[in-house]
């Protein structure tokens, strides 16, 4: 039986189908999860995809964080369920306080959409275990509110505990503090990142296959 990975659809999600496709590319079964349904349907992991959930009114991810499905995701994440938040999903995880810090408007006040070089710095999470420590990958980034911010004490703690999962190389696309592209929680099961690994799983639809590792990392462990 292939592992079952849930992909949440909020009103305004854009990349749920691409995330589900990436899950299938990695040999897992993609289970659609609906924002208004509290059931996680016995999935072994959850992906919160990119987009503009609930129009991103108030703050990006602020309304989605209180959706019925998130009650279950928050409880399950605290019990160790692997959760990957991509872009808007990262914003939702920060609003839910499953991850520290927050995502603010890009420093240049412009939407950014480009292929981005990253360094994978933490390969101990269920979503990055398939990468080599320090591996450099090219993964697209596309966001308006992608500037990762946190107070100095939180940033120091993230750095010293190895919880910066990925960092921007060759220029910081959105002004994120300390070039942070992704972080994880203390237990390592919850990972959020702004770049879109689901858009880098084959040469037809992306710049390469560097993003597939996020999904293969999970299926490799579960298989």
């Amino acid at each position: 039986m292939p592992p079952r990975i849930g992909v949440v659809t909020f009103p305004g999600s854009l990349d749920d189908r691409d995330a589900a496709r990436a899950v299938r590319f990695a040999g897992a079964e993609a289970v659609p999860l609906w924002h208004a349904d509290t059931s996680l349907h016995d999935v072994e992991a959850v992906i919160l995809p990119g987009g503009f959930s609930y129009g991103d009114y108030l703050r990006a991810g602020a309304i989605a964080r209180f959706s019925p499905v998130m009650e279950s995701v928050i409880a399950a994440a605290n019990d160790g369920l692997p959760v990957l938040g991509i872009c808007n999903g990262f914003q939702v995880l920060c609003e839910a306080h499953l991850l520290p810090g927050a995502l603010q408007g890009n420093a240049a006040r412009r939407f950014v959409c480009k292929e981005q070089l990253l360094r994978i710095e933490n390969t101990a999470t269920p979503w990055t275990s398939g990468y080599r420590p320090g591996q450099e990958v090219v993964i697209p980034i596309k966001n308006m509110d992608g500037c990762y911010v946190a107070d100095e004490r939180t940033l120091d703690e993230l750095e010293s505990s190895g919880r910066v999962v990925a960092r921007y190389l060759d220029g910081n696309p959105n002004g994120s503090y300390r070039d942070i592209a992704g972080v994880c929680n203390a237990a390592g099961n919850v990972v959020g990142l702004m770049p879109h690994p689901e858009h880098a799983i084959d040469a037809l639809t992306g710049p390469g296959t560097d993003g597939l590792g996020f999904f293969l990392s999970f299926t490799g462990v579960a298989a």
């Binding site: 602020a62 520290p100 927050a102 240049a108 107070d151």
Partner: protein, 77 residues
């Protein structure tokens, strides 16, 4: 019924690119002497008298503001 006003602003240590853009625009308008602008959000709530202070604080702290990056003030209007 009462009007309650909640103002939300970014914490001082958090960068405010929109505020900085406003400072830049003021200079282009030849308005000098404005050294900093911090942009925030202003909420006006019509609430029943049965809603207590604790509830107002909770809604501001959980939904209207993100306490990780923002401070808020509450006043009865």
């Amino acid at each position: 019924m009462a009007r309650v006003v909640v103002d939300v602003v970014l914490k001082p240590e958090i960068l405010d690119p929109q505020g900085q853009a406003i400072v830049g625009a003021l200079r282009r308008l030849d308005i000098n002497g404005v050294t900093d602008v911090r942009q925030g959000k202003h909420f006006e709530l019509e609430v029943d008298d049965s809603v207590d202070e604790q509830t107002i604080t909770r809604l501001a702290d959980t939904l209207l503001a993100n306490p990780v990056i923002e401070n808020f003030t509450i006043r009865r209007g």
